[in-house]
Amino acid sequence: MEVPILKQGAVLIATFQAALSDADLNHLRMGLVQQVVKFRSRAVIVDVTAMDVMDSFASRTLREIAHMIRLRGAETVIVGIQPEVAFAMVQLGLTLEGVATALDLEEGLAYLTQKFKNTD
């Protein structure tokens, strides 16, 4: 399953589907980093609204994405984690430490706009 990556100005938006396999996630990780380089994006928003399970592998992949993108000088925001999914994640000890989070896409964009304003 391909993850669509949308380019909106300096921001890349990747929208996850519900049933992503490990291979899909690995594929996405490579794809995102390449595109950040290609478009010289300042930030990446990963929208996980459709994901009904976030296990240790998915969570680790998100962290890796965020770290790799930071090495490219850009910022990552994870948006759309569902309340039930968040509850299951903290039970598992998965807290996405060091990665920015926001309620949804709108909030994620607002967060980045604010951030860009402060650094410009």
Binding site: I81, P83, A86, Q91
Partner: protein, 304 residues
Amino acid sequence: MSKRDSSSKDSGARNNPGVDLVRSEAPSELLRELVAHLRQNRTQLREEWVVRITETRLLTAMTKEEIFAEATSVYDSYVEALETEAFEALQAYARNLSERIIPRGVETHEVVGIVLLLRDVLARSLFAKYQTDFKKLNRILDAYEPAANRIANTVAVGFVQERERVIRQQQEAIRELSTPVLQVRERLLILPIIGVIDPQRARQLTEQLLRGIRTNRAKVVVIDITGVAAMDLTVANNLVQTVEASRLLGATVIVTGLSPEIAQTLVTIGVDLGKMNTVGDLQGGIEQAERLLGYKVEKLAEPR
């Protein structure tokens, strides 16, 4: 009561046909005879039962008419269960009855009491009917007792289960009430926690807060634990998890009202307070929340 040699009953009848003719009656035939007797004397036995219920001061929360109406239904279901040896209808009735009488304050001992009274009333009538034929009386009682016990059991268990369900429901309602998620400003929620937190309540509280964050699009949450008397490792970990889960939804949590004693305990048992944003009291917490949200609160003038 007496437990007679039941295994020899069948084999005896099979080996010596004609010798012990009377003994060859199957228990189901005896039950049929019994059911016929109970149907014939329905009015009288039912009344006798109601009198006994009143005398024993059971079901005092109900009027005489109500008792009589319920007694009729129970009696008929009882006889039916004896006849068909199917307990589903009785079970359903027992649940339905319990549902109606539990809110009236009827206690478990009363329900068990009335069923045992009915068992007794019916046994007495059997004694009266078969007193001249002692052997037959014994066999009738042999057939009646296990069925009567199962019925008593079914009704009592039905009542207790219904009662437990009601209690669970009430606990749930109390819990809902005891953890209100309040919106005090746009994007700012307050969760005052009062009382004892067990793991179940902690979970419910977290789920409610997470849903609240989503529906109110909250950015900052103030959790006030001034009213929490004690905190052990489990509760503290739950609190940390609540903070972490809220952050996953993009909300910042400020914990207020952490008493010096609790803070000391948390440090001693090794809870990482660094993960928590703590402010002394609720007012301070709200002020900080407002700053985070970009509000600037100023007094316009001195109140007169």
